[in-house]
């Protein structure tokens, strides 16, 4: 059995996760989202390890990655993903409140696919997340091995 979750949201803040889900809900994407709470969990999920050893196979269409995370931070997750031949083709989007040049530079340097600063203004935040979800799950053509809405690998 394959899981049809197409978005991996890595977010330690419960509030942010909930707000993001609220946005996805408006875009009717809720069922396609998996939320993990730190970098280690994200890596476990992607590599099917630890608590995710038995999860259905297949890669998410996009990883929405916060920068500041407990245990393994966002940049470290990004680095490991892009260094892993099995994972490096998975699109990773940084979704963070940091607009620091250094974070931008390091993320792109590690091969991030997009970098989105969470807008402070809530309506803007909502629309940004909706558009993001729709773009990566609907508009963008993911690499092979990715879950499809129809459930085809």
């Amino acid at each position: 059995m394959t899981e049809r979750k197409r978005v991996l949201l890595v977010e330690d803040s419960e509030n942010d996760a909930e707000l993001a889900l609220a946005a996805f809900e408006e875009a009717e994407l809720t069922n396609d989202v998996v939320v993990v709470r730190d970098g280690q969990e994200a890596l476990d999920y992607l590599q099917c390890k630890g608590a995710y050893t038995d999860r259905p196979s297949g890669d998410p269409a996009v990883v929405l990655l916060d920068l500041k995370l407990p245990r393994v931070n966002g940049l470290e997750v990004l680095e490991k993903v892009k260094a892993d031949p099995a994972l490096k083709s998975i699109p990773v989007v940084m979704l963070t409140s940091s607009n620091q040049d250094s974070d931008l530079a390091r993320s792109y340097g590690l091969g991030v696919n997009a970098y989105v600063v969470k807008p402070v203004d809530f309506p803007e935040f909502m629309s940004a997340l909706k558009e993001l979800g729709l773009f990566w799950t609907v508009i963008n053509q993911p690499p092979p091995r990715t879950f499809h809405k129809e459930g085809r690998p």
Partner: protein, 687 residues
């Protein structure tokens, strides 16, 4: 009855004549006129050597010189002088007229003294000995050549007398020329000489050097006390008296005398080496004193100057606390004063050697000192020696620091002959220097520590800004987010007041987010690197004006922008500064029916001074200091919106460009902001 001496004089068969001191004829008797073929009136009043100047046959004119010498002797010595034989050509009356004829004379010159004992006249008595001379010559001529036989016995006798007379005369002449020679030597001698006669030391003779010593005053014939009165009380007269009385010569060395060396001049100090030598008469009694000596004033002065300078040097060296040493490079002998010996812990007595001194030097420093000494002896650095080293006192084992200085002296061939110098105890200085070095090291370490601390503090600050950007913005976003979700979901169940609260929550959170963003922007302004390029301020102001156009909508705004030069600066930062200033001007002139905003600039000493003036609400000058502070506001948000970061940003930007900013204003009378920017690249200010 007194015989008529005039007649006697005239009638005498011997030629007589009388000369005055100038050797002018005063009288001549008939016999004289006869033998000289002269007339009395031609002679009287005229000089004898004018009338008989020379003998044409004898260019050297020896007879005339003999005569003259004789007269001078009489004048000088006031004694009779005899010329035993003198050939002299005289004119002679013959039936054929006057002819010149050589005749031989014997002349006696007798002084006639006046009342003062000076020679007034000289009486010449001449005997014509021509016949005798001829006779003598005839005797000496070989027999066969004799043409006139003579009465032998008588002529022999006369010839003998004549011969002796001639011999005496010749001896006298020799003597006289020697005497003249000696006089010349005396006169020209480099040492001063004088002959003093009698118990009152009357000058009889003094040479040129003596005259030079006493200033060319009249000396001869006068007693010493009279002509050298300034010597009274200096002991010289007493010395002369003693030499005269005892016959014991006196030798004076480097004696000081105060003497008037020039006429009318004050007395001067002179130093003399001299001898007072008693002169003995024929009977062995003391008749006078011969004074002879050297003026050594210059040498003495030089010596004194040398002594004084040596003394001064000695005092200076003593005052410096330095010990002195010197080394004779010929003998290798070293001498040193006690101060130096103390430095080396050496006993104050006994033979010193260079080895002994070197062995007193700390083993670690010895080679270095030896090298410095060798270099100096080799003539390096003009034979100058300098070394700082430690010594170890063998007695107390105390370590001392010594500063050694010295100089090698070379002879004309460049061979080192003498080496001398000083040694100074610089232990205290060395201790102080070590202390300074230690303090410096300590200071350096502390500076490094502080720098490290500052670096860490800076890092912490950056980490803080980072966490502010992340952590502080997140809850604010959550508040807005959930407030708006609440508004969306529960609007229907809330009353107006409830909906108002939700709106306020959302707005407050948004305001908080804005503050955080502003603060982050401000902190980035301080850290971002300044990219200096030429910036055209006119163009910049035009662009900012365009950006602000929306804020001017519906308002009457008059811009007066003067000619603005180009400056050297960071284009984007300057844009932020101008945007802040111009938007402030617009904002605070909002209550005016017509807003008037002026932007002008002038160049002044390498700087550009920019002025932004508005006719807005102005401010009270007592709050001027708060104007540029972060989050400092002079109005409420209700009056004028804003977070209070704008002018702080402007000031930071101006300071980072090396400029200054100031504000002037009055309540309700508008505000003026003035700031400077460097015309060309200035130093970056990190504030």
């Amino acid at each position: 009855m007194t015989p008529p001496f005039d007649k006697l004089f005239n009638l005498s068969a011997n030629p007589y004549m009388v000369l005055d001191r100038d050797l002018r004829y005063v009288a001549a008797n008939d016999a004289y006129l006869q033998v000289t073929a002269s007339k009395r009136e031609d002679l009287l009043g005229r000089r004898v050597f004018d009338l008989f100047p020379n003998d044409p046959a004898d260019p050297a004119n020896a007879p005339a010189q003999m005569l003259r010498d004789s007269f001078e002797r009489v004048l000088r010595e006031r004694r009779q002088d005899v010329l035993a034989l003198i050939p002299y050509r005289v004119p002679r009356h013959t039936p054929e007229g006057v002819v010149e004829e050589e005749r031989f004379w014997s002349a006696t010159h007798t002084p006639l003294l006046d009342e003062q004992g000076q020679v007034a006249f000289i009486l010449q008595h001449t005997v014509d000995v021509t016949e005798l001379q001829r006779l003598r010559q005839a005797v000496q001529t070989p027999e066969g050549e004799r043409d006139t036989p003579a009465p032998v016995a008588h002529t022999h006798m006369e010839a003998g007398v004549l011969h002796r007379a001639r011999a005496v005369q010749e001896a006298y002449q020799t003597l006289d020329s020697e005497r003249r020679h000696l006089l010349r030597l005396f006169e020209q001698a480099p040492s001063f000489m004088a002959v003093l006669r009698g118990p009152t030391h009357v000058f009889e003779l003094a040479n040129a050097a003596y005259y030079q010593l006493v200033g060319h005053r009249s000396l001869v014939g006068l007693p010493v006390r009279q002509v050298l009165p300034e010597l009274a009380g200096q002991g010289f007269f007493e010395l002369l008296d003693r030499v005269y009385a005892t016959g014991q010569p006196f030798i004076g060395r480097g004696m000081k005398v105060l003497v008037q060396r020039r006429k009318e001049a004050p007395v001067e100090e002179a130093f003399l080496d001299f001898v007072y030598q008693p002169l003995l008469g024929a009977d062995g009694r003391i008749v006078g004193i011969f004074a002879q000596g050297h003026d050594i004033t210059e040498q003495m002065q030089a010596q004194n100057a040398l002594r004084e300078s040596e003394e001064r040097l000695r005092r200076v060296v003593e005052a410096s606390g330095a010990g002195t040493w010197q080394m004779d490079l010929g003998t290798g002998r070293v001498s040193a004063d006690p101060r130096l010996l103390i430095l080396f812990g050496l006993p104050p007595e006994g033979e010193l050697t260079l080895e002994a001194i070197l062995s007193g030097i700390h083993p670690e420093d010895r080679a270095r000192v030896e090298h410095a000494v060798r270099s100096a002896l080799a003539g390096e650095d003009d034979g100058h020696y300098y070394a700082e080293y430690r010594t170890l006192g063998p007695g107390d084992g105390r370590e001392r620091w010594v500063e050694g200085r010295g100089q090698v002296y070379f002879d004309a061939n460049g061979k080192p002959v003498r080496f001398m110098g000083t040694g100074l105890d610089i232990t205290l200085r060395k201790v102080a220097e070590d202390e300074v070095r230690r303090l410096n090291r300590d200071l350096e370490r502390r500076v490094q520590e502080r720098t490290q601390e500052l670096r860490e503090a800076n890092k912490e600050l950056e980490a803080f800004s980072y966490s502010v950007s992340h952590d502080l913005r997140a809850p604010l976003r959550h508040i807005t987010g959930f407030a708006q979700l609440l508004d969306k979901r529960a609007a229907s169940v809330l009353d107006d007041k409830g909906r108002g609260y939700v709106r306020t929550i959302s707005e407050a959170a948004q305001k908080g987010g804005q503050l955080v963003d502003d603060l982050l922007a401000f902190s980035r302004l301080g850290r971002a690197e300044l990219k200096r390029v030429p910036v055209d301020l006119s163009q910049l102001v035009e662009e900012v004006k365009r950006e602000l156009a929306p804020e001017c909508e519906g308002r009457q705004v008059t811009w007066r922008v003067g000619r603005l030069p180009a400056v050297q600066g960071d284009a984007s930062l300057l844009r932020v500064a101008f945007k802040n200033l111009l938007s402030n001007a617009l904002k605070y002139s909002r209550p005016r029916r017509e807003a008037l905003i002026e932007v002008t600039a002038e160049e002044r000493g390498g700087e550009v001074q920019v002025q932004v003036r508005d006719n807005g609400v102005g401010f009270d000058m007592q709050y001027v200091d708060k104007l540029f502070g972060v989050f400092q506001r002079l109005h409420t948000v209700e009056q004028f919106e804003g977070t209070g970061i704008g002018l702080a940003n402007v000031r930071r930007i101006v300071h980072r460009h090396g400029g200054r900013i100031s504000a002037r204003g009055q309540l309700d009378e508008g505000a003026t902001f003035q700031f400077t920017l460097p015309r060309t690249a200035g130093t970056e200010n990190l504030s």
